[in-house]
Amino acid sequence: MSIMSANHLTKIFQNHTVVDDLSFTLETGKCVALLGPNGAGKTTTLRMLAGFIKPSQGNIQFDEEQFTKDIRHYVGYLPQYPVFHNWMTGEEFLIYVGQLAYLSKNDAKTKAQELLDLVRLGDDKQKRIGKYSGGMKQRLGIAQALMHDPQLIILDEPVSSLDPIGRREVLNLIRELKKDATILFSTHILNDAEEVSDDILLLNHGKLLKQGAIHEIHSQQETKTIYLAFQDEPKFIEERLKEINSVFNIKRENAGFAITVHDVNEARSQLLEVIQSEGWNLTKFEVLTSSLEDIFIKAVTE
């Protein structure tokens, strides 16, 4: 079931097309990563979905049976650089936004406490937000997005400004949230996307280059890589390997060879045959699935 669909979404700022004819659907309960280099139009897309800016063309449709009220009742949003009322304490701010989302004062208090503990701000809840560090503000930003138990959580670069520990915590948190909500988050860190998301949307220059489940995207790749390493590097190995018809490209990597092939099964048997007959001392044979990074760079630079 889909929670939301974007149809031919386009945004033009002063003759500059930032988002260009974007169509996709968000499936309920999925965690979707919006990937793309800086300036790809990720933030603009998320802000259109959150309702801050209107698309120049196209539209966004939410499941009408599920969402009968103002869409903001169901959406939790974290901007890229969350800014707060610095004179308020973390706890006061959470209670404030909770009440804005029609929680009663008591419910807001309970929820705020729960979330402050979740994002490990429990000890600093009485401090003015102005005294918080960047990472603490980011975590408070995530907490405020969750105050009203949203069904769709939109996070704009939730981990980019965090240190490795904070990053790990937020990724674990996202994994936790996946159980109850649909999540859409943007990032340019591919490992993060690979780690927690089910689906990806790959964006560049405002256009959608690829979309789908991560494993599907992996299997869609036309070429695969096989990594070979030998005890002593045999003579003329590169020349000999190039003669194999399923081999597409050979690249030296570390102490071995990264061999790009068209068909893994065919290449495997051909390679092993050659290695056997030549009597090379093979120490490592590995079929590599191409990382998301390869796919990303390939798609973006094409």
Binding site: R47, F52, I53, D70, Y77, P79, M88, Y96, L100
Partner: protein
């Protein structure tokens, strides 16, 4: 419920930024300054010492009404200025820093957002005006003669609606500009223009809200409320409400980049 939440938060904001302390104090100074100087002027001149021997200083003491008008006239200029300055960033600062984005990502109604902020600021201004005018009235009655307290209170209430109009002008500029300084400049410019128009055509537009303080002045002399005061106050209320509606409309249209 949501409206009260925003209102309370705004009041807390004013309190944490000490506006509840300094705004009334400054307003009191404005209201007291002129009547006091007028009263002590002869003494000040005498002690200045450079008056030629034998010269007699004969400055007529202002009447009670005149003294009370002095209180109002300072508030009319400097008070308005302070009101504009403390409300210039009410929304525009939230727009420019980005807090607005967090707040509006919650199901906040634009009308609640604007009117709650407006009402909280009006509460601060009204209380400051009333405290200031009562203090001014106290000195005036002590120094210049009797003036009925109810008369002061009635005129203070009329006067608050003048500030309501000023604040709603500031709200309009707030709802589409992101620079508080520009908001303040344009608001004051608007007030100056409205004043100029009123004084040029004062025989034609006798209902101009800019004349509220003038009518309050005549009320101190005659002791009776003129219909023009009712009219101009009524117009002030209507225009304020229209301007508030306009700010809600403008804020809704606002797209942030």
């Amino acid at each position: 419920m949501q409206w009260q939440t925003i209102y309370k938060k705004e009041m807390l904001d004013h309190w944490r930024h000490f506006k509840w302390i300094w705004v009334p104090i400054v307003f009191i100074l404005f209201a007291v300054m002129d009547p006091l100087t007028a009263y002590f002027m002869p003494i000040i001149l005498e002690s200045a010492g450079n008056v030629p021997e034998g010269a007699t200083i004969d400055i007529p003491n202002p009447s009670v009404g005149e003294a009370m008008i002095m209180s109002f006239s300072q508030l009319n200029m400097l008070g308005v200025l302070i009101a504009v300055v403390i409300s210039m960033g009410l929304i525009s600062r939230e727009l420019s820093t980005g807090v607005y984005e967090l707040i509006l990502s919650k199901p906040v109604r634009y009308s609640h957002y604007i009117t709650a902020k407006f009402t909280a600021m009006m509460t601060l201004l009204s209380v400051s005006i009333i405290i200031a005018l009562i203090t001014g009235w106290y000195y005036v009655t002590v120094l210049f003669g009797d003036l009925a307290f109810t008369q002061l209170l009635t005129s203070a209430i009329f006067y608050i609606f003048y500030f309501m109009l000023i604040l709603s002008i500031v709200m309009v500029f707030n709802s589409f500009l992101t620079s508080p300084g520009l908001v303040a400049f344009l608001s004051i410019f608007t007030v100056v223009v409205l004043n100029a128009i009123t004084s040029i055509f004062d025989h034609v537009i006798t209902w101009s809200p800019m004349l509220i303080s003038d009518y309050i002045g005549t009320y101190f002399f005659s002791g009776e409320i003129e219909t023009d005061l009712y009219f101009s106050t009524g117009i002030a209320i209507i225009i304020s409400l229209l301007l508030l509606w306009l700010s809600i409309f403008l804020l809704k249209r606002q797209e942030m980049h």
